[in-house]
Amino acid sequence: MRRSSIVLALVFGFMGCAVGPTTRNFGPAAGPQGIAANLRVRWGPKGRVQGELLEVQDTALVLLSANRVVLVPLRVIIAGQFSRRGTLIEEGRASRRSLDRLRIVSRFPAGLTPEIRTRLLAAYGQTAPDGPP
């Protein structure tokens, strides 16, 4: 009885001690959406943009935030946190490596074609993304 209790404790212990995402709980693996982003920015009244990462460009991120498509230049990002990936952008700077890693977990890793961009904006009643001037 005692031995089986220890074995059970070990089994549950091992199961509970593994940390980090799996394909079951990692958003981009479990569904169609891109990774969740939480950006602290030097722009807008709240100074924060949260939403789904749609596209990673060389100098900006495109997010879907509160049913609006938003273009956030890297330069205005004070801190960029991403679900299960941590903080990858600080003070407007992100290494190319970090951007590559973000790109493959965005909704459109190959980028938005002009046609899809236009259709996406139209679906949200926009002709151009929101964003800082």
Binding site: I6, A9, L10, G13, F14, C17, A18, V19, G20, P21, T22, T23, F26, P28, A29, A30, G31, P32, Q33, V56, R84, R93, S95, R96, R97, D100, R103, I104, V105, R107, F108, P109, A110, G111, T113, I116, R119, L120, A123, Y124
Partner: protein, 521 residues
């Protein structure tokens, strides 16, 4: 508390350091019409019309069709419908998601991969150019505004289990401002996992030459002289050809290359020098680089012929100790260069030089024993035409001073911004790696101290130590036209086939590298 409880608990707590992650890999198109690719983990397909299909339980690709239980989501994700199949023509690319336990990720990319527009452009370029080949990290120094190729690191370390440390002699000897800057490039269709970079410095007399030996230890040689005789296996006198590092290089005689067959795949050079009085050893100094025979063996035979099967071979098989050791043992025995010395019982192998790569010249020293009274007869043997050898010299005096180690001071990324994370990844040979993909570059900065005025202090020679491994991107050409029905099996037959193909092509490394390298600027 009872020890029978404490110990298991301690193990449980230690298990808390197990870290999972989600790895994202491209899903490849089957290599041939009758072939198929099955993926058991979740797959996301990106369609040309902007919609996304998620196959949570994986899928199967046969010919031009994808089948599996999926959900198709519209561009806005507001609508979704169940689907059981797709045509490949409607797909931009597919990614599979796998849960992995720690470890640097293996990322294999083909033209179907959707890791970004840049990677797609690279893949297409590679698909167009059938001469695509890999080259490992390349290191450049700045010489009066011109970048000079100095070295290539850990050549042919094609899986993590083959991770290797390389030490290369750098050509520049001064650092006027006390800072050495080396540009590190990924100019090939590969993912590089660089673990460690450091600079070694040796101060020496003007008449001395500093080189790494075959085990990467710095060695200072003195009194270098050409061999008194040098003949290759075909009987050619190659002494004059090898006497000076002048760009006139040794290559295997064409007739000998034509005769190479299973069971007789080697060429050799036999050199002789007078035995120095009282010395029990001499130093063979080589300046050499690989021909592209090795590249054909790796990229055409090992990876190309099996086509899509190479994805599993690199991504799974070579991560296992058994297959990796089998390949490593075969490679060590067959490739590189064996160095043997003649004694009373004939030639005895005393050292092995591993392949150094086809792009940059490598200077290396090998200490060999003197086994005969009057002369030292040394045989260098290698697969036919595996090397381009610019110089063979012999030094009768040498020493092994401890080098000064300069740690990496800073890493500057391609936008001239310091990258502290990258520096931390490269600072020590540990579990942290800097991962670079094709076209990426960064600058490694070492503060080495101001150079004393000429004539005041002894000259300085710098050597770059680099450690890591790389994975090849599986090319479109390999996927669409596989020649083999199984993954690579190490054998003389495979090497003979590589030599046969090499006989036909024989591009020069410089031409091929320059023609196919990936631009980094």
């Amino acid at each position: 508390m009872d020890r029978r409880v404490v110990l298991p608990l301690a193990f449980v707590l230690s298990a808390c350091f197990i870290y999972r992650n989600v790895q994202i890999l491209p899903v490849e198109r089957p290599a041939a019409p009758g072939d198929s690719v099955t993926v058991a983990t979740p797959v996301k397909a990106h369609l040309i019309d902007g919609s996304t299909v998620v196959f949570r339980r994986g899928l199967r690709v046969v010919g031009g069709m994808v089948s599996g239980a999926g959900m198709r989501y519209s561009l806005t994700l507001r609508d979704s419908t169940a689907v059981s199949g797709l045509t490949l023509d409607s797909v931009i690319g597919m990614e599979s998601f796998q849960t992995v336990i720690d470890g640097p990720k293996t990322l294999l990319v083909s033209t179907l991969a959707t890791v970004g527009a840049f990677a797609a452009a690279v893949g297409i370029a590679c698909a167009i150019d059938p001469k695509c080949f890999g080259s490992c990290p390349t290191y450049y120094s700045d010489s009066a505004g011109t970048l000079v190729l100095e070295a290539e690191g850990f050549s042919y370390s094609v899986a993590q289990l083959f991770e290797a440390r390389d030490v290369d002699r750098l050509r520049f000897s001064t650092a006027p401002d006390g800072v050495v800057r080396l540009e590190v490039r990924n100019e090939a269709f590969e993912t590089h996992f660089i673990n460690h970079l450091e600079l070694l410095e040796v101060r020496h007399a003007v008449e001395e030459t500093v080189l790494p030996d075959e085990l990467n230890r710095p060695l200072v040689a003195r009194d270098l002289a050409p061999a008194s005789s040098a003949r290759d296996r075909s009987g050619r006198d190659v002494r004059a050809l090898l006497a000076a590092p002048d760009g006139e290089v040794f290559r295997t005689d064409a007739r000998a290359l034509g005769r190479a067959r299973v069971g007789d795949l080697e060429d050799a050079i036999e050199i002789a020098v007078p035995a120095p009085p009282g010395a029990d050893s001499v130093v063979v100094v080589l300046r050499l680089r690989n021909s592209l025979l090795n590249t054909i063996l790796f990229y055409d035979i090992m990876l190309g012929d099996p086509g899509a099967r190479s994805l599993d071979w690199v991504g799974h098989d070579l991560q296992q100790v058994g297959p990796a050791v089998e390949l490593a043992q075969w490679y060590q025995k067959k490739m590189g260069m064996q160095i043997a010395v003649r004694g009373a019982a004939g030639f005895r192998e005393v050292a092995h030089l591993k392949d150094t790569g086809p792009v940059a010249w490598k200077d290396v020293a090998i200490v060999v024993p003197v086994l005969e009274r009057d002369s030292a007869r040394i045989r260098l043997s290698f697969p036919a035409d595996n090397w381009r050898i610019d110089r063979v010299a012999v030094a009768t005096r040498y020493r092994r001073p401890p080098p000064v180690v300069h740690v990496l001071t800073e890493v500057v990324d391609a936008t001239d911004q310091p990258d502290t994370t990258a520096r931390a990844s490269l600072a020590a040979a540990d579990g942290r790696y800097l991962e670079t993909t094709a076209g990426q570059r960064f600058t490694a900065v070492f503060e080495v101290g101001l150079a004393p005025p000429a004539g005041v202090a002894p000259p300085r020679t710098f050597l770059l130590a680099s450690q890591g491994y790389y994975t090849e991107w599986v090319r479109r050409g390999w996927l669409v036209a596989p020649r083999a029905t199984r993954t690579f099996v190490p054998s003389d037959t495979a090497l003979a086939e590589a030599i046969a193909r090499w006989r036909v092509t024989q591009d020069t490394p410089g031409t091929r590298f320059m023609a196919t390298r990936v631009p980094v600027r």
